[in-house]
Amino acid sequence: MVRGVSLVYTAYLLLPIALLLIGSVGQSWTNSLMPSGLTARWYMDIWQDPSFRKAFVSSLLVALSACVINALLAVPLAYSLYHGAQNNGSAAARLVSAMPVAVPAVTLGFGYMIVFNSDALPWLGSMPLLIAAHAMLTLPYLTLALLADLRHQQLDKLEAAAATLGATPRQQFIGIVLPNLRQSLISGLVMVAAISVGEFNLSNLLTSFQNRTYPVVLLQAFYGATGFACAATVVLLLLASTSAFLSSALLLHNKREKLGLPV
């Protein structure tokens, strides 16, 4: 029974991907079960299409910037939430964990549109605003990953030990907290990158024509040939799954390293 359900579920997940792969190399695909002909034309088209190339670069730039900003914000944020929660309840921590659910990207997007479409703050459509929005959207995920790790490892105990050994709070943070958060920071950042790369709602509302991200341009592809749309989607899929594989590979590497196994 369980096996049956998981088989159906796997098919449900993989079938669209399989169809996309097939479609992306099919010459023509209209009103038939399978496309006819084999071609690499669609990938070449994407490669030669300046708007796709530009969007690809924009997406990478936005994702990378969001990662840098998040790394700088989330570590101190999670750290202070962890210590704050021990002293006076965990209202702040709960708020942060509820944020991604309570504030959907669309809400955030409309908010930004209203605020930054004014004379005082006319930044709608600018790259920095888009990056800031992506950073805001993904920050809770990274913060939560770090927070969970802080709790799991009970880093406050290690800090206490370091303190009794003479480490200043700064030395504790740099020598004890940061190295032990390395794993969750890396995997959290890969998650941030994956979310940012695939993000459509917010980007669609906030981008100008000049700095459209890949998913926004992807929508345009569906007004054209099926094969082109499929190929464009496969590229996005590759971009996102590279992140996912990278993160799991890193985690596995760290785990083996910790257990002293050959890596």
Partner: protein, 342 residues
């Protein structure tokens, strides 16, 4: 270097738990065990001395210096945590050398000292292992070496053996004590294990509800407990309510026993404390303090037997421990009936 706690009080915010006027003096090189049931405040005491908890009243003085406003990292007090709190991202050697490294010692210098300490705890061959690969007992020894590496002015041990198997606990107990003596470390040991406290400590402090009940040598704690709570917490015993009926005579309600009553006047209510090993089975006729009765539950302990003896007319059994079980009578020598005031 001596450690003096004078009238130390602390209350956890929003609760009635904490410490109430605790005074303990630990002489230079002495090991004082702080013992008490959970919630007695013994861990709080350790946290206050280490500086991990702040906001006490009273004074904590180490080597003549009041620690009140000194942050943890400036106190130079070594601490071994119950969970060891070893740094998982560092090797054994790096863990031990951490305190020296943060003091700015050159790599060669701290490594030399750390190696020497590894030898002390018999773990020289583990220097480059990650600490995550060590057994509990090994982690414990690394934690001890790490705390000693900084030449601490005092050593705090928080339930150092609680997480270990009974089989290695005894061995480690001796080893810790040996090392503590060699380093002449002024030491506070917190434990809820009375055997640990009695075997390791020069003196034992018994805490309950945040108050110090007694501070004395293990022998005195066991043989001359200051009150009923200490007697009940340390070792097994039978505590019988009784009344002084004459000089050196008390009445327990089911038997009149002979015991030194000291200056207590007739009619004084007391508790009579009887340790199980002092209950003599089937004594010869005419032995003082003989009680007739029957034997109840027996527990085989290997080297001896522990059993309940129901004296005639008694409402609670007498706990006894011996090689053989009493058939119809037991006796307790007058000197072994210990009187405690209400």
């Amino acid at each position: 270097m001596s450690l003096v706690l004078s009238e130390v009080s602390y209350r956890y915010p929003g609760t009635t738990q904490g410490l109430r006027g605790v005074s303990i003096d630990v002489k230079s090189g002495e090991l004082v065990a702080v013992m008490g049931p959970s919630g007695s405040g013994k861990s709080t005491l350790l946290k206050l001395v280490s500086g991990l908890t702040t906001g006490h009243t009273g004074r904590i003085i180490l080597g003549g210096v009041d620690l009140a406003h000194k942050p943890v990292h400036q106190r130079n007090i070594g601490m071994v945590f119950q969970s060891y709190a070893l740094f998982p991202h560092l090797t054994v050697l790096q863990n031990i050398g951490y305190g020296l490294k943060v003091r700015g010692l050159a790599t060669r210098e701290w490594q030399r000292k750390a190696h020497a300490l590894l030898d002390t705890v018999d773990m020289a061959e583990f220097a480059d292992r990650p600490v995550t690969q060590l057994s509990g007992g090994q982690q414990q020894r690394v934690a001890l070496a790490r705390a000693l590496a900084i030449d601490p002015k005092a050593l705090l041990l928080d339930e150092p053996l609680a997480a270990l198997d009974a089989t290695i606990r005894g061995h480690l107990r001796d080893q810790i004590r040996q090392i503590q003596r060699r380093f002449k470390a002024t030491t506070l040991l917190v434990t809820h294990d009375q055997e640990e406290a009695l075997t390791m400590a020069d003196r034992v402090a018994v805490l309950k509800d945040g108050m110090l009940l007694q501070l004395a040598t293990p022998k005195d704690i066991y043989n001359k407990p200051a009150c009923k709570a200490v007697a009940e917490f340390v070792g097994l015993s039978t505590v019988l309510p009784a009344t002084v009926v004459a000089q050196d005579r008390i009445d327990t309600g089911f038997a009149v026993l002979t015991t030194p009553t000291g200056t207590r006047s007739v009619g004084t209510s007391v508790f009579a404390l009887i340790r199980p090993e002092h209950v003599e089975a089937d004594p010869p006729l005419g032995t003082p303090n003989t009680m007739q009765g029957t034997t109840g539950t027996q527990r085989y302990l290997g080297a001896s037997l522990r059993y309940d003896f129901h004296a005639e007319g008694a409402s609670q059994p007498l706990t006894a421990q011996a090689r053989a079980v009493a058939v119809k009578a037991v006796a307790v020598a007058p000197d072994h009936v210990c009187l405690l005031d209400f």
